[in-house]
């Protein structure tokens, strides 16, 4: 099963933690995706709704 790390990859920078080759990298990508989706959902839920101004005649 594809559970082992590809040892020949030398990642630097952000790719060291977010890549599709190492177990840690794949896990971090998954967590980052879920966090982004949760963030977007929370943003739209907590965004204050603009109330239309009601003018009385």
């Amino acid at each position: 099963m594809g559970g082992h790390d590809a040892g020949t990859h030398q990642f630097t920078g952000l790719a060291k933690y977010f890549n599709a080759y190492t177990m840690i990298g794949r896990r971090n990508c998954v967590l980052a995706t879920y966090a982004t989706i949760a963030g977007i959902v929370l943003f739209f839920k907590l965004k204050p709704k603009k109330q239309a101004a009601v003018t009385e005649k």
Partner: protein, 227 residues
């Protein structure tokens, strides 16, 4: 009372008492328990061969930790195969045509495998949601696709068994009705329909066994991923 083709799938009751409980406990009385004798009779020997052979075959690719599931999955297999086969007898009720029952098997067992994976090896379980070597632009969308496919698994398990059994039973009833109705009108066509019915029944026997096996095999594969 006008009967429809779907009445065979209605959960049977007698004076308000649900008979599905009887249908579910019937497999239990059909199988002899192992005896303390050194040499058993033929039925018990065949039963033991089947159970041991099945357990070995299913659990051979799974590591030691997963072997705790042997009793559960083997008994589930025997239960499903018996229910499916008994349902092929005329005028019997097949509990595995009920989606509620199949989902009641599929969801808790699938969820157990997912929870085991998340508890024992969370990195491995989460990393599974992103196939190795995915190109960078495809990463987010593939993660979402894999997540959806993970949650669709119990639904697919339950619906697969329900749909196969229901469709098979319905076809048998339709073709049998056709053969019966055609008998006084066109006997030759009725005989051909009867031959078709015989082949369909043989197919349904195979489907009954295969679907029970596939249900348990897929659960064992989900366990293999997570244990």
């Amino acid at each position: 009372m006008t009967l429809s083709f779907f009445d065979q799938f209605m959960s049977p009751t007698l004076l308000g008492i649900p008979l599905i409980a009887l249908a579910l406990t019937l497999p239990w009385v059909l199988f002899p328990k192992p005896s303390s004798r050194w040499l058993n009779n033929r039925v018990l020997t065949l039963q033991s061969w089947f159970i041991n052979g099945f357990a070995q075959q299913i659990f051979q690719p799974i590591n030691q930790e997963g072997h705790k599931w042997a009793a559960l999955l083997t008994s589930l297999m025997i239960f499903l195969i018996t229910l499916n086969m008994l349902g092929l007898l005329p005028y019997t009720f097949t509990p595995t045509t009920q989606l509620s029952m199949n989902m009641a098997f599929a969801v808790p067992l699938w969820l157990a495998t997912v929870i085991i994976g998340m508890r024992n090896q969370p990195t491995h379980a989460l990393a599974h949601l992103l196939p190795e070597g995915t190109p960078t632009p495809l990463i987010p969308i593939l993660i979402m696709i894999e997540t959806i496919s993970l949650f669709i698994r119990p639904l697919a398990l339950g619906v697969r068994l329900t749909a196969n059994l229901t469709a098979g039973h319905l076809l048998i009833q339709l073709i049998a009705t056709a053969a019966l109705v055609l008998l006084p009108l066109m006997p030759t066509v009725a005989i051909l329909t009867g031959a078709l019915l015989l082949m369909l029944t043989l197919l349904e026997v195979a489907v009954a066994m295969i679907q029970a096996y596939v249900f348990v095999l897929l659960l064992s594969l989900y366990l293999q991923e997570n244990v």
